[in-house]
């Protein structure tokens, strides 16, 4: 068996270091927010994981199209890797958001557009894995997976805009303003440092996990082929 490539090993180490630094910046370096207090520190990781998860879902939809055009199973493995990592990151986003919402909105959950869309998106990609599990033929599994990831990837943003017809209370910290939002705040320079560092760190961590997952997919493929050889 081939060993892990050196670049990936280095990236693993860098990811762990970045995670440590991002944690330090979020928990110690960034000043405490006046109104919400320490719970606001959840925000740095909340956005970091949300951004990378969305990136992964968008990548997955792009891989769908490429797979359906080229029919090369390599793109299928990339898609599975992207969706699997994103699914976990998005779950972390939802859980962190919930922890923040309890003191800020006085509830764990509201049926706000972003929260609802996040929950539905999670369900779409869980359904994606259930669909894949029911198919044995790898080529068919890839085709169906690509079709469903494409349909789901198109439907999720439409859901978001559809629910936006109602009012939202989710704060928009980065741009724009919403008079009805509850729990928004302005960032000081130190907060901005922690924020952008968290974005950067999670992007690197995402790439690292993505790469590891692709490598795992390639190895799985090899094992499957070897098994086939043995049975023949």
């Amino acid at each position: 068996m081939e060993s892990k490539p050196l670049a990936l090993k280095i990236l693993d180490t860098v990811s762990i270091l970045l995670l440590g630094i991002a944690t330090y910046l979020a928990l110690v370096y960034a000043p405490t927010e006046l109104v919400m207090g320490d719970v606001q520190r959840v925000f740095y990781f909340h956005i970091g994981t949300a951004w990378t998860a969305l990136l992964g879902f968008i990548l997955a939809a792009v891989f769908s199209v490429i797979y359906l055009v080229t029919k090369d199973l390599k793109w299928d493995r990339l898609q599975v890797a992207a969706i699997e990592v994103s699914l976990i990151f998005f779950l972390i986003t939802i859980v962190l958001g919930s922890i923040w919402a309890r003191p800020a909105w006085n509830t764990w959950w509201t049926w706000d557009p972003r929260l609802t869309t996040a929950a539905i998106t999670e369900l779409i990609y869980i359904a994606y894995f259930m669909l894949r599990q029911g198919i044995d033929d790898p080529e068919k599994r890839a085709r169906f997976g690509a079709v469903y990831a494409l349909v789901g990837g198109l439907s999720a943003p439409i859901t978001f805009f559809a629910i936006r017809l109602f009012r939202t209370i989710h704060p928009v910290v980065i741009s724009g303003s919403n008079a009805a939002a509850q729990g928004s705040f302005h960032m000081t320079p130190r907060m901005l440092t922690a924020f952008f560092f968290a974005l950067f760190a999670f992007t690197v961590i995402f790439i690292d996990l993505f790469w590891n997952r692709i490598r795992l997919g390639d190895l799985q493929e090899k094992v499957e082929q070897l098994k086939l050889k043995v049975t023949i």
């Binding site: 359906l68 539905i120 369900l123 779409i124 359904a127 259930m130 669909l131 599990q133 029911g134 198919i135 044995d136 068919k140 085709r143 169906f144 690509a146 079709v147 469903y148 494409l150 349909v151 789901g152 198109l154 439907s155 439409i158 859901t159 805009f161 559809a162 629910i163 017809l165």
Partner: protein, 242 residues
């Protein structure tokens, strides 16, 4: 010059012939489904009885007194249509798969998308027939007038969106190991925009809201229908290919 015009003429003739055969192929699939259904009445009776049972369950679950009825009628109706719809979609695709009918259809020398559109139209027909029967029954049971042209338009647009995605996903789910339980799991999260817009538009018509307020969800329904028919049209080949 003369040659060119005759060439062009023959090309147009060929094109009209091709589009004619496409329509014919679609019509053949629809005709086959409607005829089989007319003889067996399996699907239709199951969907209809199932939707009436769902309304019955909602009646007890939500205690639909006069006050509650006003606010939840649209929701009850669309939940009923969504549940009954999966029953129909599942069955209509499972029949094709079980008796090897799908392979026969795929062997036919027609465009694969003709099969898709044929199935969509026949599924839509079943769903609309069920809806047309459920609406007056609901009207009688709860003394609300559901026969308003606006509401019927919403029902049509919502059903088109639901069936266009549902047919594509049903074609996939019947080819998996867990087929009977998989369709609603695949379908419901992606048709939420349809249900949301349909419920909003329906309750708008039922409460007599201003047309400008209802226009937004109706536009959303139209946009969803167009987007997903186009996507399904493009990817259907990948779903049925062997």
């Amino acid at each position: 010059m003369v040659n060119k015009t005759t060439e062009m003429k023959s090309m147009t003739i060929e094109r009209t012939r091709a589009s004619g055969s496409f329509v014919k192929a679609v019509a053949a699939v629809v005709w086959k489904d409607l005829r089989a259904e007319f003889r067996s009445r399996e699907l239709f009776s199951a969907m209809l009885v199932f939707s009436l049972l769902i309304i019955l369950i909602f009646n007890f679950a939500l205690e639909l007194d006069i006050k509650a009825r006003q606010s939840v009628t649209a929701g009850v109706l669309w939940a009923t249509f969504a549940f009954a719809g999966t029953l129909g979609l599942n069955r209509s695709m499972a029949i094709e798969k079980d008796r090897g009918c799908l392979d026969g259809l795929l062997l036919a020398p027609v465009d694969r998308s003709a099969i898709y559109f044929g199935k969509v139209i026949s599924n839509l027909a079943f769903m609309l027939i069920v809806e047309i029967i459920v609406l007056p029954i609901y009207s009688v049971l709860y003394t609300v007038n559901l026969f308003q042209p606006g509401l019927l338009l919403v029902v049509l647009l919502g059903s088109i969106g639901y069936v266009s995605v549902g047919t594509l996903l049903a074609a996939m789910s019947v080819q998996t190991r867990t087929r009977d339980i998989l369709l609603p799991i695949l379908l419901f999260p992606v048709v939420i925009p349809v249900l949301l817009a349909a419920v909003k538009a329906s309750s708008g018509f039922l409460t007599g809201a201003e047309f400008a307020d209802i226009l937004l969800p109706i536009n959303l329904l139209i946009a969803y229908d167009i987007i997903f028919i186009a996507v399904a049209f493009m990817v259907f080949d990948a779903v049925v290919e062997e």
